[in-house]
């Protein structure tokens, strides 16, 4: 009895076993591509809904209301949970403020005020806390802090506040809306002099800020609310930090997926083409065209499915780790990585892609006449691109190099695919390096990013230092290691023809070196009479460089200032100018503005700060090293690095596969070359040269493309977000930054081609020729 399926299966299994390297290559490429695809999906999903997902999982509070405990009873506040429109509520929790709290272990710098709540457990219907380290409080004497351990704040440490009992830190937890800075047991809060009550709400209607305010007003009608916070404000603050970076992630994720798809297409179609002689044998045995097609599909799908499963597992883990990192970077309790739906989507996409990539060549294999298939390799081929090969053979280049350079032109389609993979690899590396630079520049663009040491009033010193700003400037400038000194403050101002609520960043002293490279138009101000507003302010009010504004601080004289430039900033109420425009606001009597210092090259900021502390502590001042808030920069740098590596590895596998196919197809030629005296090293050199040439071309194409994509993405982000993008954030490429991807192109090509080239060089000549 005929058993065609078992024959197909037997032939496929034999093919898989016979071509182990090819099988492993397909499995690895598919695994890597699936992992990349799933990682990309997870990245895009997380970047679109990072906050919302975390908020939903934690059942975050849509509104947090604070009440004065002296004016309203806990019972009345608790009754608001049953008000109309409230779907869930938690509290009331007693609250207290730990003033000038500091870690007893000796946390340097000033202490800080912490708002703590008395809460029995981290769960509940609203604002479920995620414990990131340690455990929840079990009784008096313990505290759980918001966030994660860091510096002197660690599990087991203690926290003290003047006049209050010392508390042991037993854990860290995160509230998605940051409902408190710490939590103690309800039995403990009484000893901390509580003065408030906190209630957390979720409402039936809370789509936007006005809805939240209306719902809250209805719920707390008749009660004296001393403060409230809407989740919309928290979400906006998060989006301000995060959304600027979403386009970068999107483009990079999409690029990774495109490379994966191309590599799969190359490897799978190549695997089928490489087995033409096998096809002839099958047909000679009596396999029908449909059976031959089936054999090839099964041969490819077997390792592909195994690779896909491994890739889904790896991608899921990677996406989870990435989401966890992002949550950590943005102080969220948690984030979704890959879901089962994403797993299925990525796995399904890859399987379909593999099947489509294999189907064309497999159908071609089925239709191939047996005689033509069985004679593949034994008869002379009528090849392509022979003109260039002939020309190269006549040059003075060493024979292996000349022959190697000629190989790519013999198979233009395969060369195009390998070149695409290499080009995209280089594009990804170029784009990744550029985005890394851009994000770094964005994160350190403000003056704080350029400041080494900050000098200000000591937290437990006299009410105000006796020294004036000018005296402190003079003292600091006399110190060795001081390069530049300035003071900076925020001032509420009003502008004629502009809405209320403008915030002026006023600078005094030697401020020019502190101003970042976030200038979008014009130039920085150089003295009084000039102003640099945010780009969003200019756009919103249709102002231009050269226009004049009249600004007035509270109770101060008006100042006429000319717009000389604009800086990148999404806040449409921001402007920067010299503090001398508002002489009344200067701290002439007693220091009140913090002072920033840039130290000279070679001076350690920590040593400098210690010296200044020793010098000025008697005057009620302290100095501390400035640690710029890099926020999620580390997360993004990690992402760019990881994706660049994945893309480059995938490109390297594409190269490996290309050389593998070339070596298989040209095994007879390689045998002949060795028979006429080519050494194994020369054979390897020939194969590597063929890909190194493509690596060079890939770099030549990929670098300009990467730069162009980077510029387009950053520029577009600037247009889409109100803040704009500074020219220096767009034009980030120095020659050395371009040299790296150029080397990457060659490196990918050489590393990818080395293993199969070495294998080809080691093939026994006698075996190859006997096979003929």
């Amino acid at each position: 009895m005929e058993r065609p399926l078992s024959a197909v299966w037997a032939a496929s299994r034999a093919g898989v076993r016979r071509r182990r390297l090819q099988t492993v290559s397909i499995g690895v490429v598919v695994a890597l591509s699936t992992a990349t695809l799933l990682f990309g999906f997870g990245l895009l999903a997380a970047s679109n809904s990072l906050f919302d997902d975390a908020f939903a999982r934690a059942r975050g509070a849509q509104a947090t209301a604070a009440f004065d405990a002296a004016e309203v009873s806990a019972a009345r506040v608790a009754a608001t949970a049953r008000a109309a429109g409230v779907t869930a509520a938690a509290g009331p929790f007693q609250t207290a403020v730990l003033r000038q709290a500091r870690a007893s272990a000796g946390m340097p710098g000033p202490g800080q005020d912490l708002r703590v709540a008395g809460r029995a457990d981290p769960g509940g219907p609203v604002d479920r806390l995620t414990i990131t380290s340690g455990r929840w409080v079990r009784g008096p004497g313990e505290i759980v802090l918001h966030g994660r351990p860091g510096g002197a704040l660690r599990v087991g440490g203690t926290l003290s506040s003047p006049g209050l009992p010392e508390l042991t830190i037993v854990g860290f937890a995160i509230s998605v809306t940051g409902s408190a800075d710490g939590w103690v047991a309800p039995a403990q809060i009484g000893a901390l002099r509580p003065d408030g009550l906190q209630m957390l709400y979720r409402f039936a209607r809370a789509g936007d800020s006005p809805q939240v305010q209306r719902s809250l007003a209805e719920a707390t009608a008749g009660l004296p609310v001393t403060g409230n916070e809407s989740y919309v404000t928290v979400r906006q603050a998060f989006q301000e930090r995060f959304n600027q970076l979403i386009p970068f992630i999107t483009v990079f994720g999409a690029l990774a997926m495109a490379v994966s798809a191309i590599i799969i297409g190359t490897v799978v179609s190549g695997a089928v083409v490489a087995g033409f002689r096998h096809i002839g044998v099958l047909k000679a045995l009596g396999f029908t065209p449909a059976q031959v097609t089936a054999v090839y599909l099964v041969m490819v799908m077997t390792p592909a499915l195994a690779g896909c499963a491994a890739g889904v597992a790896a991608g899921h883990l990677m996406a989870d780790a990435m989401a966890e990192n992002m949550a950590r970077g943005f102080e969220l309790p948690s984030a979704w990585g890959a879901t089962l739906l994403l797993d299925a989507a990525a796995g399904g996409c890859v399987v379909v892609l593999v099947a489509l990539a294999a189907l064309g060549p497999a159908l071609r294999a089925g239709r191939l006449p047996a005689v033509q298939a069985i004679s593949a390799g034994a008869v002379s081929r009528r090849g392509r691109g022979r003109g260039p090969q002939r020309w190269l053979a006549r040059t003075r280049l060493p024979a292996p190099v000349a022959l190697g350079l000629g190989l790519p032109v013999a198979r233009p389609a395969r060369t195009a695919l390998v070149l695409t993979a290499l080009g995209l690899g280089v594009t990804a590396a170029t784009l990744g390096l550029g985005l890394h630079q851009t994000v770094s520049k964005i994160m350190t663009a403000d003056p704080e990013g350029h400041t080494s040491v900050t000098v200000g009033a000591a937290p437990f010193g006299p009410t105000r230092p006796d020294l004036s700003e000018r005296q402190v400037f003079t003292l600091l400038r006399e110190q060795p290691g001081t390069a530049h000194v300035m003071s900076y403050d925020l001032l509420k101002v009003r502008g004629a023809g502009l809405p209320d609520g403008l915030t002026a960043e006023t600078y005094n002293g030697d401020y020019r070196p502190f101003l970042g490279d976030n200038l979008i138009r014009g130039r920085w101000f150089t003295g009084p009479g000039e102003v640099v507003p945010s780009e969003s302010l200019l756009r919103l009010h249709h102002l231009r460089v050269g226009d004049t504004l009249t600004l007035r601080a509270e109770d101060g004289a008006p100042a006429r200032v000319r717009i000389v430039g604009s800086f990148a900033q999404p806040d449409p109420n921001r402007l920067m100018l010299d503090a001398r425009n508002f002489p009344d606001s200067e701290g002439a009597a007693g220091l009140r503005r913090p002072i920033s210092v840039i130290v000279t090259p070679g001076t350690a900021p920590a040593d400098y700060a210690a010296r200044i502390n020793a010098l000025l502590s008697g005057d009620g001042m302290s100095a501390k090293v400035t640690e710029p808030e890099t926020g999620g920069a580390v997360v993004f740098h990690g992402l760019f690095l990881l994706l660049s590596l994945i893309i480059c590895t995938a490109a390297g596998l594409g190269v490996l596969n290309g050389v593998l196919l070339n070596a298989q197809e040209r095994s007879r030629d390689l045998g002949v070359l060795k028979a006429v005296g080519m050494t194994p090293r020369q054979v390897a050199l020939m194969m590597v040269t063929s890909m190194a040439a493509l690596g060079a071309v890939g770099a030549a194409l990929g670098i300009p493309l990467g730069v162009a994509v980077h510029h387009a993405v950053v520029d577009l982000t600037g247009r889409l977000t109100a803040g704009g993008m500074a020219a220096s954030w767009i034009h980030v490429y120095d020659w050395w930054l371009l040299a790296l991807p150029a080397c990457a192109g060659l490196l990918i090509a050489v590393l990818g081609s080395w293993p199969p080239a070495g294998r080809a060089a080691a093939t026994r000549t006698a075996t190859v020729l006997r096979g003929e």
């Binding site: 081929r381 053979a393 194994p680």
Partner: protein, 237 residues
Amino acid sequence: MDEHADTVVRLASVHKTYGDVVALGGVTLRIRRGEAVAVMGPSGSGKSTLLNMVAGLDRPTCGSVVVDGEDLTGMGESALARFRRRRIGMVFQFFNLLDDLPALENVALAGRLVGMPPRKARARALELLDRLGIADRQGAYPAVLSGGERQRVGVARALMNRPALLLADEPTGALDSRTGDQVVDLLLDLNRTGQTLLLVTHDERLATRCATRLVEFTDGRIVRETEPNRSRPWSVR
């Protein structure tokens, strides 16, 4: 004449096994300069293995192989490749030309491997093609050459570096009888001008026409050596 200088190939008790299969079972053979030796035997008798040993494409399990004064037994892959490119010329049954290079470049390539400048290599290749009567086909690619023309290009490539020994593995096996005869004539002419020849063939007619000595193989051993009725070469190079 000095016996060493007169000997091109010396095999002493050469054994070759592939797993349990004995391909050569203690072969001792000496080929003198200018000789044309034909190795005959049924399929699987060890003829091709012997050829591979002499060409340095395979190594003996034990015994020694000395070709043109060089002991191949201890040589590494690279040294064997360098030895091959200068001392050995190989002619294959299926020609084994590089499909992407025209006839002239196929021949010149062997010269390029020994460091010959491109112009000089092409001049030498053209001289050989002319000598073999296919100079007019110098620009043609293998796919458009006839079987006989391809084999002539193969012979020209083998002669490019003036090898001490020309190895031919079934050189007429893929040719029709008329073209095969032409190739035999070519080999005869080469031998008559002093080229040492080691020929592996099934074809008794070819062997007796071409060879000055017949070596018959069975099961990896030499079972008979005869001298057919062919005149010795007129001169030794």
